[in-house]
């Protein structure tokens, strides 16, 4: 059987990505490699309770350093930095490394060679074991560069584990939004499973996500979470799914039990197993049809 990679995404945050990923992980127990691609504020570990067996540094991009001497504060570099990392105060050049994106323009320009560029540690990568299978996760340094590259590395590691251990699924908990980490998490996946809610903002964000999936040629299916929060909103989501051709594979009502379980850091018991099965069957059909 071929390897299928599901990425759970949402656009809008807080719609239930991690919740859904955790119940899918339980349902696929033993058959999947798990991966948390929200490397900025990762949460899946809270539910999966991993035991970490390997840990490595993630070197993501470069940062400039200013050496004095040879810097003579000529200030030529200041207008060259497009990211506002260089400024001049009282005739002295100041480098704000937190704004440096590591492009190296300053190193190219400086007539005295006062800048050096060196790789910066931007996070850590963890390989873990959980009750449900191997788990790859990471953590960006606080305020770190929002690294698509880190997400890409995690997915490569998850894939290697899956091939090595003969697993048929990779389950990726995606980041919110539609920019670099979301693009990195989605590109090349078998299917994007979008979790939305029946709100104006949920629908707005779902449509943007759908555009992104289309652009990167990833088929998308939808789960409508907290479906009973607004009848009007739910109708609008169903209609949008019909019009765009996104299969709506399951609807999950607002369940107090889910909220309570999550508050206790437990994988929710309240989501019925039939619902989870429907999601998996729904996606399976799509992946095969692809």
């Amino acid at each position: 059987m071929s390897l299928r990679e599901i990425v759970v995404v949402s656009g809008k945050g807080g719609t239930g990505k991690t919740t859904l990923t955790s119940v899918l992980a339980r349902a696929l127990s033993g058959n999947a490699v798990l991966c948390d691609a929200d490397v900025d504020v990762p949460d899946l570990w809270i539910l999966l309770k991993p035991s970490v067996h390997s840990e490595e540094e993630f070197v993501g991009g470069n940062k400039a350093a200013l050496l004095r001497p040879p810097c003579d504060d000529c200030g030529l570099c200041v207008p060259v930095c497009r990211f506002g990392a260089l400024s001049s105060e009282n005739g002295r050049v100041i480098l704000d490394r937190s704004r440096c994106e590591g492009c190296g323009a300053c190193t190219l320009l400086c007539p005295r060679g006062a800048f050096s560029l060196s790789p910066a540690v931007q996070g850590r990568i963890y390989g873990s074991e959980t009750d449900f299978g191997p788990f790859w996760h990471a953590r960006l340094v606080p305020g770190g560069e929002n690294s698509g590259r880190l997400v890409q590395l995690l997915r490569e590691k998850a894939r290697a584990s899956a091939l090595e251990q003969g697993k048929s699924w990779i389950l990726v908990d995606g980041p919110p939004g539609i920019a670099c980490p979301a693009i990195s998490a989605m590109t090349g996946c078998s299917i994007a499973l979008a979790v939305t809610e029946p709100s104006k903002s949920g629908l707005h964000d779902l449509k943007r996500l759908g555009e992104l999936a289309k652009r990167f040629r990833v088929p998308m299916a939808v789960v409508l979470n907290r479906s009973d929060l607004s009848a009007e909103g739910a109708r609008a989501v169903r209609q949008a799914c019909r019009e765009a051709g996104w299969p709506l594979v399951a609807e999950i009502p607002f369940l107090v039990g889910v909220v309570e379980d999550l508050a206790r850091a437990r994988i929710p018991e309240a989501i019925p197993p039939e619902t989870v099965r429907r999601v998996l069957e729904g996606i399976d059909g799509l992946v095969v049809r692809r």
Binding site: K12, S98, G104, A105, G143, E232
Partner: protein, 286 residues
């Protein structure tokens, strides 16, 4: 418009975890502190305007200077592709270099080209919309779908919002990485909206650490409090921040927000919380 003798100030609303109520709280602040500019710096998924009556917005492009090549001058030497740190330039044998969406607009390739064959053109990466929602100036940033880097759009959106010269609320993106940092960089005070779940706490702690490093005054608003009676107190850097308000777990607020109704119209505790937040922000932003 604003009272004489007082400089306008800006307060950013952040959360770490998505869906904790950032946008709802931003709208509440905007609705209880007029005249204000309400800036939506969550440019990947801008939703603030939806809670403020969805006003018509006039838009302008945000663009990035990206390289273009003069094929007559280009000798296919490959210096540009070796210089680019972002994998945005491909040059291959006898073909002219090709540039992709990963470009940060840094200009390094243009500086490096020995033949002066590269020049820069403006490429749209997003836009900023401006409108008036019953007296609130709404300034909304929007990243074009497919563009990887939201930071330039965030920077421009905040800049244009602050240029209104009013007290400003900045609804920030989730997370603690570069988009959040770009949204709060110019704010004088930051409100951290969180929920007392393990997820809310873990994510808010990362944000609190970043804010401390940036030297930003920060305070907490705890949303959906009371989910668990035995919820433990906040620890770490979070534990050092003042708690301005605890908002109850409310299905009515969620139902309202789903339909685009701001929580201040549903639950008076949000109005009080917004009042407390303005007062705190005015005090610390001196």
């Amino acid at each position: 418009m604003r009272p004489l003798g007082r400089e306008p100030f800006s307060v950013a609303v952040v959360s770490g975890k998505g869906g904790t109520g950032k946008t709802s709280f931003s709208a509440s602040l905007a609705l209880s502190g007029q005249p204000v500019a309400a800036v939506d710096a969550d440019v990947e998924e801008p939703n603030l305007a939806l809670l403020l009556g969805d006003p018509v917005l006039a838009t302008m492009n945000v663009s990035l200077p990206v390289p273009a090549v003069d094929t007559e001058r280009c000798t296919r030497c490959g210096t540009c592709s070796r210089t680019c740190r972002f994998g945005a330039v491909f040059s291959f044998g006898k073909a002219v270099p090709v540039f992709n969406d990963l470009c940060h607009g840094c200009g390094a390739c243009v500086l490096a080209c020995p033949e002066k064959a590269l020049y820069e053109v403006e490429r749209p990466v997003g836009f900023v919309g401006r409108g008036n929602a019953n007296g609130i100036i709404v300034v909304e940033g929007r990243l074009l779908v497919g563009m990887p880097n939201p930071v330039p759009v965030i920077g421009r959106t905040v800049e244009l919002g602050l240029a209104e010269g009013l007290d400003t609320v900045i609804d920030s993106p989730p997370g603690a990485a570069c988009p959040m940092v770009a949204a709060v960089r110019k704010a004088r005070a930051v409100i951290l909206v969180t929920e007392p779940t393990p997820f809310g706490r873990a994510d808010a702690e990362v944000v609190a650490q970043v804010l401390r490093e940036m030297g930003k005054p920060a305070a907490l608003v705890v949303n959906r409090s009371g989910i668990l009676e035995e919820a433990p107190p906040f620890e770490g850097v979070l534990g050092t921040l003042p708690v301005l308000a605890r908002l109850p777990f409310s299905r009515a607020v969620a139902e309202g927000a789903a339909r685009g109704i701001p929580p201040t119209e549903v639950d008076s505790s949000w109005k009080e919380a917004a009042g407390a937040a303005w007062e705190w922000a005015r005090r610390v932003a001196k």
